[in-house]
Symmetry: C2
Subunit: 252 residues, 2 copies
DNA sequence: CGTGCAGTTGAGCAAATTCAACGCTTGTGG
DNA sequence: CCACAAGCGTTGAATTTGCTCAACTGCACG
């Protein structure tokens, strides 16, 4: 009964094998979530049909589904879990004074996220498109880490990777609009399974809020790059890199 | 003989208790350093008199002295050590295409630095003013960590703090010139021992390269803040916060 | 066949950079 | 002691960049 309720209202579902505590938390979280309607995230938050297939549990945790724009966690909440994208994609962000939004990272399949410097989330996380996410209890991981040095060091490695990502982001923000877009495209391409073809899951607004630009500037920069034959825009969400060298020269 | 050589040419010295391996490395490093003369860091790199007093070793390591603008480590070098500021201050940075420089962080007494995501330094580090720095061998720390879970978790904590710092930096870079300067001042004040009075160790160029602005914009913004009575500039390197509220409103 | 949303394009404007000059302090040498 | 060069910081004017506001296109959905 509880499960059917959150399926109708929450935009998130948990596979059957999740433990009771986790399910409880998920229900309390997502019952109130659809009504939140935060900035830029009001549309398309509809119930999502429960996937009958249980996806493989990659680590200690349960797999959850989030439909597009559903909140995974919110800024200020206690950071009790780690997350890993299975399918789909996720954005993490903060909302600044004046309603502006800073997206701090995009997470694609296999990426880990939710590792916060403190005990509570300094960012919010939302699914960009319908996504499956593995949820791991942080205390369980730390408990394992206490018994297994290797896991502790792996956690360390995750933190360091996240640090590298944040530094790369700062590097992007140092540059001109063209440099930022070029760097973003190169990064996305390096994470894309299809080499030079990028399938963007996120909107222009997301890109703009990640790069610290306006959607107009992002759009103009992309069309300018296309007119120079540096990239090709098959459609708005599908970009092919035609001249990586030119892009890297704009970036660094 | 080796020691006298590096004292004359290197701008760095190591206290007597440093182990032989460390001394060897330091000598090879700093013999060639004075001639490097990198961007923005050519002036005032003279020999520094050896301090006869051995400062307390706070962690597993040796204390070294660096005179103003001396290089502590360089981008691309293997990251074999962690560092902690004892006195003075340190900047870490990368040099971008076109000769621009991105300062990624300022480190004041007690701050740890040199924790890199990979096995080699992704940034360079330089003393801003004459400084004393504790140097700890990374492998020693990791070895300790392997035997002591607590140390492993502490290393994790350091990484997470560094992550928070990088995220805060990205947040700064998202804002207007005024917002960046305001955020910078608030951060420096929060790390200052004297409350509202900030004694800046770094030049306008350093600040500009940290905030992604030009020195002119930094200067203009500061004088503008002073004319609004938000801050007072006793002299160029000494700033007093007069209206923290106004600053925080500009920042977030 | 509208309606609504995402994306693009254009014109005018504000913000920050560039280029240039100037003041202040400091250290050097006559 | 003064003259003077060198750095650092500030100020001004012109230019460039990216933003704001607005219109318009294309596509998906009902």
């Amino acid at each position: 009964m509880i499960e059917s309720t959150h399926r109708e209202h929450g935009g998130a579902s948990v596979d059957e094998r999740g433990d009771a505590d986790l399910r409880q938390r998920i229900n309390t979280r997502f019952l109130g979530q659809a009504a939140a309607g935060r900035l830029h995230a009001v549309a398309n938050t509809r119930p999502y049909p429960l996937d009958p297939l249980a996806p493989p549990i990659e680590l200690v945790g349960a797999t959850m589904k989030f439909c597009a724009n559903a909140e995974i966690y919110g800024e200020g909440e206690p950071a009790e879990y780690f997350y890993q994208v299975v399918t789909g994609s996720v954005r993490t962000f903060r909302v600044l004074r004046g309603g502006r939004r800073q997206i701090s990272g995009f997470y694609l399949p296999d990426d880990l996220f939710g590792l916060e410097p403190g005990d509570e989330h300094s960012h919010s996380a939302e699914a960009i498109v319908d996504s499956r996410v593995v949820v791991m209890k942080r205390s369980t991981m730390l408990c394992l880490a206490a018994r297994n040095d290797n896991i502790a060091l792996q956690l360390c490695a995750v933190a360091r990777r996240e640090l590298a990502r944040a530094q790369a982001h700062a590097l992007l923000l140092f540059q001109s609009a063209q440099g930022r877009v070029a760097g973003f495209l190169l990064d996305m391409a390096s994470r894309s399974p299809q080499g030079d073809t990028i399938e963007l899951p996120m909107s222009r607004r997301d890109i703009a809020d990640f790069l610290g630009l306006t959607i107009e500037t992002v759009s103009r920069t992309l069309t300018s790059l296309e007119s120079e034959a540096t990239i090709a825009l098959s459609n708005a969400r599908r970009i092919v890199l035609r001249n990586r060298l030119a892009l890297s020269q704009m970036n660094a």
